[in-house]
Symmetry: C2
Subunit: 431 residues, 2 copies
């Protein structure tokens, strides 16, 4: 049974607080093991990378064989089903269109004193894209990471993807080609993250590493943070559905299960002001679970972390939604737009009954790499800005320096930084 809490009950506040605090992941202490792998690759480069690949992926490869060749990628594309390639192409084009609108504009202006100021955006030169192997090797995620990098103008996008026992999902290679990835290496785990951060003879280092991975990959990203940039550390996925009595219980149940099938730690939450809908959704979930291929995973997620929250009004739902700060928020009410306008914290909002999250996962065009575990309170989904950086520009002439210099000298002296004051004073013949 999922958790069921009701805002009309006396202990609601404490139960909701406990619900918010529920941990869905146990983080094993793997930092020591990860650090050893990272340090080894940093020190011994390709040799360590190849040894770790043999050990963890049971794959024997030499340095020359680390990179997928163009012929191998051609063959992978050939092996893919045409309908799937067409769908990936559609996704790619829509992701590109959406993300082109995120390209920032440079700003340059002259203020009333004549000081020239500005902000200039440039693409990061080289980015690494981590793609998990095995069952979590999602070609859609390759596109969601690679296309914004391409739109940003990143010259070199380096993908790493493990191929345990030599197996690789050809769709992942096809998506990489569609997404404009420059180089692909058959390595994974902490060793791949280290190779991207420190570089080896075969893999030139990158400046930033993005993409999801297992606990070792996440730990390695934390370790190399600072040496290179990283994106967020993704936790298990979650959806929050807010619905009133206009909601279709079968559709809502399907959406809750689409989230739950990802992972036993995923979380699906329904907030509704309708007792009847709540009961109908709960029944529909059980019915649909019976025929779902990944029923075991989905049932575990729904039982352990699923929740139905009954509220007196949709206004209450707004407050709870902001506290939950869901990665995905679906709104299926009579007026979803006005409810959405009142909610501050959500990674992505899906409006109305005909926008299941799965559309956004694949072909909507917006990004499906979104902040999890309540981090939508302070962070955003992946986008073009994650692949660029801003440089500020300042230019004074003699008149502007005369106008601003004395205040700068005053502050420098007040902070005990006399050399700061002098660097202005020496130009103004003031000391």
């Amino acid at each position: 049974m999922p958790i069921r809490i009701d805002s009309r009950s006396a202990d609601f506040a404490s139960r909701f607080k406990a619900f918010l605090a529920t941990k869905r992941e146990v983080s094993a202490d793997i930092e020591t093991a990860t650090r050893a792998i990272v340090d080894d690759v940093a020190a011994r480069g390709d040799v360590a990378l190849i040894e770790a690949t043999r050990k963890f992926d049971r794959l024997s490869v030499d340095a020359a064989g680390l990179r997928f060749t163009a012929a191998e990628i051609d063959a992978a594309v050939e092996a893919c089903d045409t309908a799937t390639l067409d769908a990936l192409n559609l996704a790619r084009d829509r992701i590109e269109l959406f993300h082109r609108r995120q390209l920032p504009k440079d700003d340059r202006f002259t203020d009333a004193l004549g000081v020239e100021l500005g902000s200039r955006w440039t693409a990061i030169e080289a980015v690494g894209l981590y793609v998990p192997g095995g069952s979590a090797a999602y070609p859609s995620s390759v596109l969601m990471n690679a296309v914004p990098a391409m739109v940003a103008g990143v010259a070199r996008v380096v993908m790493v993807v493990p191929s345990p026992d030599g197996r690789i999902n050809p769709l992942v290679l096809a998506a990489a080609r569609l997404g404009g990835v420059s180089e692909i290496y058959r390595v994974g785990g902490a060793q791949a993250v280290a190779a991207l951060a420190y570089g080896t003879a075969t893999i030139a280092p990158v400046a930033k590493i993005v993409g999801p991975g297992n606990a070792y990959v996440a730990a390695a990203k934390r370790l190399v943070f600072g040496k290179v940039g990283i994106d967020m550390i993704a936790g298990p996925s979650e959806v929050l559905v807010i619905a009133d009595d206009t909601g279709n219980a079968g559709w809502i149940a399907a959406d809750l299960l689409a989230q739950a099938e990802h992972d036993a730690n995923a979380q699906s939450i329904l907030i509704t002001d309708s007792d009847a809908l709540a009961a109908d959704v709960e029944r529909a979930v059980d019915t649909q679970l019976a025929t779902l291929p990944r029923a075991d995973i989905a049932r575990a997620s729904w039982t352990d972390f699923g929740a139905i929250i009954l509220v007196r009004s949709l206004g209450e739902a707004v407050t709870l939604a902001d506290a939950i700060a869901a990665e995905h928020l679906e709104i299926m009410t009579a007026d979803p737009e006005s409810l959405a306008a009142r909610i501050r914290n959500a990674g992505a909002i899906f409006l109305g009954p005909h926008t299941p999250e799965a559309i956004g996962d694949y072909v909507g065009g917006s990004n499906h790499v979104l902040p999890t575990a309540r981090s939508a309170r302070f962070s955003s989904g992946l986008g073009v800005l994650d692949f660029m950086k801003r440089t500020s520009i300042l230019r004074c002439g003699p008149d502007q320096l005369r106008a601003l210099g004395p205040a700068a000298m005053t502050l420098g002296k007040a902070e005990g930084l006399d050399a700061h004051a002098r660097s202005v004073g020496v130009r103004l013949n003031l000391q």
Copy 2:
């Protein structure tokens, strides 16, 4: 003597590489100690915070006394020198003007299929601002952190600042008032970071923590990252000056020393194509050091980490500057603008002889919180976007779902996520 390397010498490449790899900070292993403090505050709240404050800051305070009162802040403002307050006011106004231009615009559009898409920006609800105590308590940094938060629309900006032995710099409190800080608490160190992240009975938690601090503060920020957002982990400051024979040696020397006086680990670098200028700057540094109040610090920085790099051409300087990716880049050449346009990696660029970095540190208007330690390759200075987050919006009607749904179902099935496909199919009477 600073390092002196010459691009005309045979071993230049290896010497430059070694120079780039120089570590300027030894990171002590303080994670265990920091974790104990953070866990204690998370578990015991105010009691642990007050104990740690007594232990580390030698300050006895009860829960009611943690927060600075309005009267205390009034008194601090009264205690400040008028000229310094005027300078802070000028800085505040100019920082606000510059940062207002960074406010992002929401985007909402309908594509050719009729799908509605969008990106919506909202301010983070509550932000914590760490301000160091003691000699590094810089009122200018308070403004550089608080004003962008205010411009972003953050409703609650909570400042923490230690007052060792009860001492506090009144200018820091005055700057907080000017910067629109909502609450100020006399706590610091890892315990203050933990209080901001987890909340105590007295200090409500925030969603993101920004601001520089010592190694314990940095370690605590790493530990709470995920629970809350954090800004970058700042390293020692650095400046790179690129100059040709039009450069004024005395002015350049003053700028190199303004950086060097910050900290013995700070770094000042000159790249020039003029042997004569290099020699003149080196002499001018020695001359100016003789009368500098913080000569010991500046000399240590210049001797240990300072560098003069001679190049054959300014084109070479571009390549080296991108590799160095300096926090601050001053360009004093005949045509600084065209050289700046060719450089990709820098936190902030100061153009021409009349723009010493100190102007940007205080009153230029751009932010002085900038990426250090080569991280300008992948990150930006602090700005309004650091205090906001973006939510994507998607809305399909029945026609749009019919147009996009089949491709989403194809991809869901290809990824083995049947419930994803079903959540679309159930709406289209397709399974």
